[in-house]
Subunit: 347 residues, 2 copies
């Protein structure tokens, strides 16, 4: 039995996917907040915005013109942080170490409709987004020198998103990035020891305990991980061990779209606002090696804590010492679970 005072007393929990501990301070949520409040997200956007550089037929910042796209549409980021053909230099001088890094950054418009977000799109339209992610993962991943493909979405101005048009990004690169490296190590350790996916065993345990499950359908589960850091952090994972999204069957793809829709609806319903987050898919590297240890999953890191305008700041102690959260994973899961699966704007 879990010590019952963990519901109210400070404790640490282990993130089995990174090997890192996080600090939980459940009692702290009571503190009054006199600090910064955020602007609530704008809603009631037009379906087409002539000044939006992501809308169909409009001119982009880099000068190109978007086609009159009807389905999800991707293009190379006009301000890519990673570039191809930057050479392959490495530099070592005493205690200074650097090396070239090459890659490709793309933007993925989820819909031609400027006013939509994932929770307001149809399951069919979300399935099309997943299809484009699959195609990009396969195409980018098969390029020479691209060993990792990071698919993600920054949603909302407070998550650094500079345009409300529904879109995500993909940064594909040569080196395996830090967060993924940690997960590979942990997944691989478990695989080598048990010949099983750590996430499959974890999922089995969570389904049995049923304290942190938010949503479940035939092929997918959405849950608040035991070691969640962000207030309403969740993880979507397939029930069977699937190394990357390219391996989804058609019914699985549809189930993935469904759970994505249901989860993001619940998110919007928490504070009756277009809920900001960064979401990302972690999956097998595209380094040409076998990755039997991989079990792909999509995580959501949403900053809002108490209302549509009060977020959790990961600053000070969190930057210098340790990630820390103020509500337990169980409390967050309970809130999310209880929320309707119908979007608040449609009631």
């Amino acid at each position: 039995m879990e010590p019952s005072n963990f519901n109210s007393n400070p404790h640490r929990r282990l993130n089995i996917l990174t090997g890192e501990w996080i600090l939980v301070s459940p009692h702290r949520n009571k503190r009054p907040w006199q600090g910064k409040t955020e602007k609530s997200a704008e809603t009631n956007l037009p379906s087409y915005d002539p000044s939006c550089y992501l809308c169909p037929t409009n001119k982009r910042m880099g000068g190109g013109i978007n086609p009159a796209y009807k389905k999800p549409f991707s293009f190379v980021n006009d301000f890519s942080a990673l570039l191809q053909d930057v050479g392959n230099e490495s530099y070592e001088n005493g205690l200074l170490y650097a090396e070239s890094e090459s890659g490709i950054c793309k933007v993925v418009c989820f819909s031609p409709d400027h006013s939509l977000t994932l929770p307001l799109m149809t399951v069919e339209a979300i399935t099309d987004v997943i299809s484009l992610w699959q195609q990009e993962y396969a195409e980018l991943g098969s390029k020479e020198g691209i060993n990792h493909v990071q698919i993600f979405e920054n949603k909302g101005a407070i998550m650094g998103c500079s345009n409300p048009h529904p879109h995500g990004q993909i940064w594909a690169q040569h080196k395996i990035p830090l967060e993924v490296e940690k997960k590979i190590r942990q997944l691989k350790n478990y695989w080598d020891k048990h010949n099983k996916s750590i996430l499959q065993d974890y999922l089995g345990q969570e389904l049995e305990l049923d304290k942190r499950i938010v949503l479940e359908n035939e092929y997918f589960v959405a849950l608040v991980p035991y070691w969640a850091v962000w207030p309403y952090e969740t993880m979507i994972l397939p029930k069977r061990k699937i190394a990357h999204i390219g391996l989804l069957t058609e019914p699985e793809k549809k189930a993935y779209a469904e759970i994505l829709k249901d989860l993001t609806i619940k998110y919007d319903n928490i504070f009756k606002t277009s809920f900001p987050y960064s979401a990302g898919i972690h999956q097998a590297p595209t380094d040409g090696k076998e990755h039997p240890e991989w079990h792909f999953h999509m995580s959501f890191y949403p900053p809002l804590l108490r209302s549509a305008t009060v977020k959790k700041f990961m600053v000070g102690y969190e930057m210098f010492a340790n990630p820390q959260r103020d509500i337990t994973a169980e409390q967050a899961a309970e809130t999310l679970k209880a929320l309707p699966k119908k979007h608040y704007t449609l009631f």
Copy 2:
């Protein structure tokens, strides 16, 4: 010689203190910003604010009354994230791992004057702050079960600071936190191998290269580390290997106060605004062991990138993959170095 295209092309640099790589995309700073802008910090605050829970003689949120303090003043946080006497339980159930964590959280008011900030305080007044930090480090660190003392400051509303009264915090705890653990490992590896402080060797190299030095006085240096992540990230470090602030001589303490003042003045001068940041001191753990490898240093993680209202967002790619920055450490150091040592409000 460093490959010259690292000034303009994406590359990675190694943080020798954590062992982690960061992605640098110097060319990316050219991208236009259409996203969120922040409110600039309020200035012209009164010296005493009757509604401030940190001003002398006022009532605190937890009900206590502040004394009529004239010098830096500390007290136990009314909403401490860490508590004493929470027991010592540990929980392991399949893939769930948790354990109690105990500690003490304190607030340190830097000055009775509500309107001040470090750059606007006198060197003597800053020296008093350092004296209080020393006292807290010694007192908290000598308590049974406190193995680490994290001193930090969150400055500015965008850094989650809920009160402009000049203050910092201290979270002291049983376990060594994650970020510190990484540094201990790296410092110790180097010490064991070379019988020298990695930071002393690094500092020697930086002084010789003179490309990232921002300030130098008799006993201290402020520089932009080669592996900086935040746009104007800096590190203050003593020239001699000092394991913790308790070991500073009086002249060193004064030199530390001076460089703290000079650096924070330069920060305010970048965008002519009260410059937000989280700052933290990393020093030897208080676990009773010898720590010959430790060389204390204070780091500043400031989010502003382009102006008083446009910050760098560490989201999406940074959360799921890898820390990333848009200007080089050398560019940031050059900007900081060129700025006057007189506060912009005093011209």
